[in-house]
Amino acid sequence: MTGAIFDIVLCLLILAVALAAILGRDLFGSVVFFIVYGLLVALAWTRLGAVDVALAEAAIGAGLTGVLLVGAVARLRRGGVVEPTPPRPLARGAQMGICVLAAGLVGAAIAGLDPDAAGLTATVAQNLEASGVGNPVTAVLLNFRGYDTLLETVVLLVVLIGVWSLAEDRYWGGRPGLRQHAKPGGVLATYGRFLPPLGLLAGVYVVWAGTDQPGGAFQGGTILAAVWLLVAMAGLVDAPPVTARRLRLTIVAGPALFLAVAVAGIFMGGFLHLPPEHAKQLIQTIEAGLALSIAATLALLVAGPPQRGAR
């Protein structure tokens, strides 16, 4: 009973916040509602027992996206763009009509589904032992459907190259974003020194825990990225130039390691085959590499293309 009340209240809150984010007239207000939306969705995933997803949502939705969007609004305002022009009433009506129709159809489709269909849960459980890890989510992501994950990590790389290629030509070779600064010894700088040890601990723990309980390279990498960004915002560290060899090695290390393991699998039974007796070590190695690359890539994505001189 209490559980049902909790679920209903949470659902209503999520809906209200989503509507507030879309319909709000104040751009900054919409951004804040979107951050809250990420937090509430993380709560929903937690309540559903999908802790892996909740971790990702908490780190991305409530963490990185917030920084990105708050910065974007500030830049728009500095650039003189105050509020987006609303679409014409006719276009708006058509958009809403299409959305309502699509939502109705999807609703009808979901209503017709068998609520007890378990998908592949049983198949995953049967094969869990041979996967080398105890967390079924990790087993799916790194072993059963590791090929999806390999492509997804490369997608992150594509996005980073895309963001970098938005740089102005004269800044190529410079450092990403603008130089951040804060009062030495001030609150921000102190927080920037206080957080890294704990943040590093939490990030590494989440990556390491991922093999047997919720967590993994993506969640851990996001935490590490966020901690680095905070330290950068406190003016304590700065990203290396985009042409730095070290930086480029870091962003491709994870995907390249994953690909190397995949190709080496050809000699051990097939592309991306992880022999059960070594699967755990291989998965941990891949996750460590991926966490490093994901952390660097996400942090650089938020930092943005180079915006200052090469030297």
Binding site: A109, G119, V124, F144, V158, V252, L272
Partner: protein
């Protein structure tokens, strides 16, 4: 026969490895010099393997579907793989002098190479995938690589075009993903082969089919989702435009083909098929009319893509739906694949050749064509030959494609589609005649030139589209490898 079995995995792994190297050690000459021949060898393996032993199927990691993902190289996928390898291989060689890495690395000079290799890997991943969720990842990969290539020129206009493309593509991805989620909830698998064996008339499957089709149509730039394509493709640097226009819309079309003919052949209702055909027909007419009105060369070529994409969708009313094979379905199906492949060669050749004309003239107004036959005869010839394919004149691959589609239209009694095909050919002649006629005019003003070896490459690509028409029997048979019975028998 162990080597051909490696071809599917290598088709994705080799360009990925090249892309990683291009990020860390930007040595384009070396990378292109090694990767392109290596990929051509992989393609030869794949063709050999499919011809001798039928479709190559690889359960990645040893996990059979539905738990794992299967890569499938049948006749259709291999045809698209080979077309991609030949097109991108040529484009990369043409791009070498245009994106050099000198003492000081430049933004575009660096970024082009990893993006091009990544796009190659992504396209191959789409063509090989036998799993609808994996296709989502691969299509998304294609989209993001494309997005970055569109913005590569770096001017505000291109960034705006990229943003517009991003909006359409994002809508397409989300619709597709929603459809995939519904299908998984309804059937517990996303493997195309397994889905084909399941009944698919429930509400969830039909709604999913609608969402997937709408999403992919947006990504293919089918009318009325075409608005993003011309600014995006015309704004990119010519080698990027060549890849984008020739191959990227084909990837999402390919998935539609797989979905409607392989995964859920029975879900297609007559109304949906006619609607897709009608949108395709509108694209042919409307895209051609817009192309006639363009005054910029690259814009013209980009609008021509909008029109040519329309032909692909005629396959749905001509060959789709019916559970029992009709005598004309194989012809129509093969015709549309022929069109996709020959358009890929011709459009890539045309963009590269136009790119050379633009490089020589320094602008892309119509007058860049003046006197081209004398100044750069090979480029002019490449443009002429690729125009022949786009108009569908014999003996090109475009002719074979249209001939097959026309035959199917008459055989199935759908004469309206036949009329559209003929009209489209006339309109293509109309929009291509203007720039081609100027090539014979005397040139005024000063023009630069492009090395002959460079000019020869687009010409070679254009010739491929003609060769496809001359020796159409062998590719016709090859395409049927691994097809369900519905397509194998047909009109000869």
């Amino acid at each position: 026969m162990i080597l051909p079995a490696l071809a599917p995995a290598l088709s994705v792994a080799v360009p990925l490895a090249a892309a990683f190297l291009a990020v860390v050690a930007p040595r384009p000459r070396l990378l292109v010099g090694v990767t392109v021949p290596a990929m051509l060898a992989v393609m030869a393996l794949a063709v050999l393997g499919v011809r001798q032993g039928g479709p190559l199927v690889l359960a990645v990691g040893g996990w059979e579907p539905p738990l794992g993902i299967a890569l499938v190289a049948d006749g259709l996928s291999t045809a698209f793989l080979v077309a991609t390898a030949l097109t991108i291989g040529t484009v990369l060689v043409v791009a070498l002098p245009q994106f050099p890495i000198r003492q000081n690395e430049t933004r575009a000079g660096w970024a082009f190479w990893p993006l091009a290799f990544l796009l190659w890997a992504a396209l191959n991943a789409v063509f090989l995938s036998g799993d609808l969720f994996n296709i989502y990842v691969a299509i998304e990969f294609v989209t993001l690589a494309t997005l970055a290539l569109v913005a590569l020129e770096g001017k505000a206009k291109q960034v705006e075009a990229a943003m517009r493309y991003a909006m359409f593509a994002l809508f397409g991805s989300l619709a597709y993903l929603l459809g995939v989620a519904l299908l998984y909830a309804a059937h517990g698998t996303l493997d195309i082969g397994l889905l084909a064996q399941l009944p698919a008339q429930d509400t969830a499957s039909l709604v999913a089919a609608g969402l997937i089709t709408a999403g992919l149509a947006a990504k293919t730039a089918l009318f009325p989702f075409h608005a993003w394509l011309p600014p995006a493709h015309a704004g990119a640097p010519a080698p990027a435009s060549a890849m984008l226009s020739a191959l990227v819309p084909k990837a999402s079309f390919y998935v539609l083909l797989r979905f409607w003919f392989d995964a859920m052949p029975e879900a297609a209702g007559a109304i949906a098929l006619q609607l897709l055909g009608a949108l395709g027909a509108t694209a042919i007419v409307y895209g051609s009319i817009l192309a006639v009105r363009q005054n910029r060369l690259k814009q013209l070529v980009a609008y021509s893509t909008v029109a040519q994409i329309g032909y692909l969708f005629l396959v749905f009313p001509l060959a789709g739906g019916s559970a029992e094979p009709q005598p004309w379905t194989a012809g129509a199906w093969t015709g549309s694949v022929f069109h996709a492949v020959s358009h890929a060669f011709a459009k890539a050749a045309m963009f590269l050749a136009v790119g050379h004309a633009v490089l020589a003239a320094g602008h892309d107004r119509m007058s860049a064509m003046d006197g081209l036959t004398r100044r750069m005869p090979m480029t002019a010839f490449a443009l002429g030959v690729s125009a022949v394919t786009l108009m569908g004149l014999p003996p090109s691959g475009g002719f074979t494609a249209k001939f097959l589609l026309l035959t199917a239209a008459f055989a199935s009694g759908q004469v309206l589609w036949a009329a559209i095909i003929v009209l489209g050919g006339v309109l293509a002649a109309a929009y291509l005649f203007r720039p081609l006629a100027r090539a014979f005019l005397p040139d005024r003003g000063r023009y630069g030139t492009v090395p002959r070896a460079q000019q020869a490459l687009p010409l070679a690509l254009a010739m491929l589209s003609v060769v496809l028409g001359i020796v159409s029997a062998a590719p016709y048979d090859f395409l049927q490898t691994g097809r369900p019975a519905a397509a194998e028998e047909g009109l000869e």
